[in-house]
């Protein structure tokens, strides 16, 4: 049967297309309206850091800044008042060293659990993973007391010890799941050739686990960077406090220090997380995916 184009209701098709387009245009407007709830606070932050204290209190909160010059003054004052340089160094140290050590320890444990012939492999895993079950409140008092007794209170080593420990259990779960999915043929072959377990671990398993290790490292680094509670309890000194703890300095004196300066400090403290997120978005999302499973 020949196809007769005149029987097609072209108008109806056009109407339907138009309706569809109108629908998606409406949707876009709705999406933008909705996203405003998230954009407005960020916009407020973005303009406030360019205002002087005087200008901040004089003009409406959403008014554009009169100039960009006050920004550097805000940064300088926030940096000085919060001793942010020291705090940033501390948090960078805790975050990189603590998360690296934790992920490495977790990889070692995951290797033993998935690759070595040990009894109670699930029991060992549960013992390590039990570190994620309890709320932070149960650690606070004993750690404070124990740190005081051992002289670890307000020391870099003490803070590093805690941050490393708290970051071990979750990567152990992720890396155990990943390693149990890795093919055994390669390490069996290496063992046949006389490689010992250390060689297998360092030469074969670790190089194949770099992806998930990076993902959990990022998650744990961000956790350490964002922590305020444990720094307040275990390392509440100028020399040892974390960057988020340093932000609390402004908290007690909201009235005397202008909001423009406090907001600048908050942005400076958040900058590393934001930069990391945009540079390594893929790894972050991968991390979320493993967090879910």
């Amino acid at each position: 049967m020949a196809f007769d184009i005149s029987t097609l209701d072209l108008d109806a098709i056009e109407r339907r297309e138009a309706a569809k387009n109108k629908g998606s245009a409406l949707k876009l407007v709705a999406a933008i309206g909705f996203a405003l709830l998230w954009i407005v606070p960020f916009y407020f932050l973005a303009i406030s850091i360019f205002k002087s204290s005087n200008e901040y209190s004089r003009n409406p909160p959403l008014a554009l800044p009169e100039g960009l010059a006050p920004f550097w003054d805000n940064v300088a004052r926030a940096w000085e008042l919060g001793s942010m340089g020291q705090a940033m160094m501390n948090s960078a140290f805790y975050g990189t060293v603590g998360a690296s050590l934790a992920v490495f320890f977790a990889a070692m444990a995951a290797f033993a659990i998935t690759r070595l012939d040990i009894p109670f492999r699930n029991g060992w895993f549960m013992l390590i993973f039990a570190g994620t079950v309890f709320p932070f409140q149960m650690y606070l008092i004993p750690l404070f007391f124990g740190y005081q007794k051992l002289g670890l209170l307000n020391s870099h080593m003490g803070m590093l010890l805690f941050y490393t420990a708290i970051c071990v259990p979750f990567p152990t779960l992720v890396l155990r799941n990943f390693m149990s999915g890795l093919s055994r043929e390669m390490d069996e072959a290496a063992r046949m050739d006389g490689a010992n377990e250390f060689t297998v671990f360092f030469r074969i398993i670790l190089p194949n686990t770099i992806g998930p290790m990076t993902a959990v490292f990022l998650l744990q680094f961000t956790w350490i960077w964002n922590d305020m509670l444990f720094s307040t309890v275990l390392g509440n000194r100028l020399e040892t406090r974390s960057i988020m703890n340093a932000l609390l300095v402004f908290q007690g004196s909201y009235s005397s220090i202008g909001p423009n300066i406090v907001l600048t400090a908050a942005l400076l403290a958040s900058l590393p997380s934001i930069v990391l997120f945009f540079l390594l978005r893929r790894h972050f999302m991968q991390g979320l995916q493993v967090q879910q499973s």
Binding site: Y139, P169, M244, L248, L263, A266
Partner: protein, 316 residues
């Protein structure tokens, strides 16, 4: 030679016993090696996390406060004191509100946004914007919103613009508004994560049953209600548990945003515990509050494993 001896001789020649002995020896050998590999993780977790938990439980049964009573057995006295403490009761009610709100709002919002953004072209930018608050520290987010809620801050000015007269509400200073205001900030921060997790869950749902239902003339609501939602249940369950735990142990936001609120101590259980121990020096009493928080968290986690097993059975 009788039969048994012959078998034995044969087995010796094959070396079965030797193989079994070797396997047993390797097993023992590998346990040692395994312990070497697990030692750093075990020492960290047991020494820094699990031992303190046990120590905390023990402390909660002592009379330790300020400089006295360390190690003196008190029985359940600390727990018996809890119900008569007005701050504890208020903190308990507030925490219940937090749990309810942190389940309902982020999930309703996150599910709505996930369904909305799922098939929208160019949604990536929106998704990023809504997700970003989650990567920021609660401390930083709290500082930002502190100025949104300030008496001469963004919210009051905005409301003033809409209503046409001066609005001067101390959002973070009144009993009636402080908890809802901080919950709103919490929702602002966490809805993006819920959305992303639900989008991941939605992406894993097979397309066939939805298309089949569509061809059979099912409405979009019917498809959502009877196909998408049941298949999304495992993800929803996980997100719900995450939200319950996050709402139950919320601390940072309350600490930053509630700093000027006179009743800060009663804002939630975690804050109450901190005040009792680290500001008042009631160490044993604070430990008891921590144990209560821990018990609830354990119950929720246990409940999750039970439900998870049931959902797994249903969806298999």
């Amino acid at each position: 030679m009788d039969r048994a001896a012959k078998d034995k001789a044969l087995l010796d020649r094959i070396g079965i016993d030797q193989i079994a002995r070797n396997a047993r020896a390797r097993r023992r050998g590998q346990l040692g090696l395994g312990l070497v590999f697990m030692a750093p993780a075990l020492i960290m977790v047991v020494g820094v996390l699990l031992a303190p938990v046990l120590f905390n439980i023990w402390l909660s049964f002592t009379k330790w406060r300020k400089f006295t009573g360390f190690g003196e057995y008190a029985g359940f006295a600390n727990y018996e004191r809890l119900p008569s403490n007005p701050f504890f009761n208020e903190a308990l009610i507030n925490t219940a509100i937090w749990v309810g709100a942190s389940v309902v709002f982020p999930i309703a919002l996150g599910l709505g946004m996930a369904m909305f953004f799922r098939n929208l072209r160019g949604a990536e930018t929106f998704k990023n914007i809504i997700f970003i608050p989650r990567i920021l520290a609660p401390t930083a987010v709290g500082v930002l919103w502190f100025y949104v809620y300030a008496p001469d801050g963004l919210l009051n000015r905005g409301l003033g613009l809409v209503s046409g007269r001066d609005v001067d509400i101390g959002w973070l200073y009144n009993d009636a508004t402080v908890t809802p205001a901080i919950i709103a900030t919490f929702v602002w921060q966490t809805a993006g994560l819920v959305m992303v997790l639900l989008l991941l869950g939605l992406a894993a749902i097979p397309k066939d049953p939805i298309e089949a239902a569509h061809i059979d003339g099912a409405s979009r609501w019917q498809i959502f209600r009877y196909i998408t939602l049941p298949l999304l249940m495992p993800t929803l369950l996980m997100v719900t548990i995450l939200s319950v735990l996050a709402g139950f142990t919320v601390f940072d936001l309350l600490w930053v945003m509630g700093a000027n609120y006179p009743g800060q101590r009663s804002l939630a259980l975690a804050v109450f515990m901190y005040f009792e121990a680290f500001q008042k020096g009631s160490w044993a009493f604070g430990s008891a509050v921590a144990v209560i928080i821990g018990l609830v968290v354990l119950c929720v986690t246990w409940f999750q494993t039970v439900l998870q097993a049931r959902v797994d059975r249903m969806t298999r």
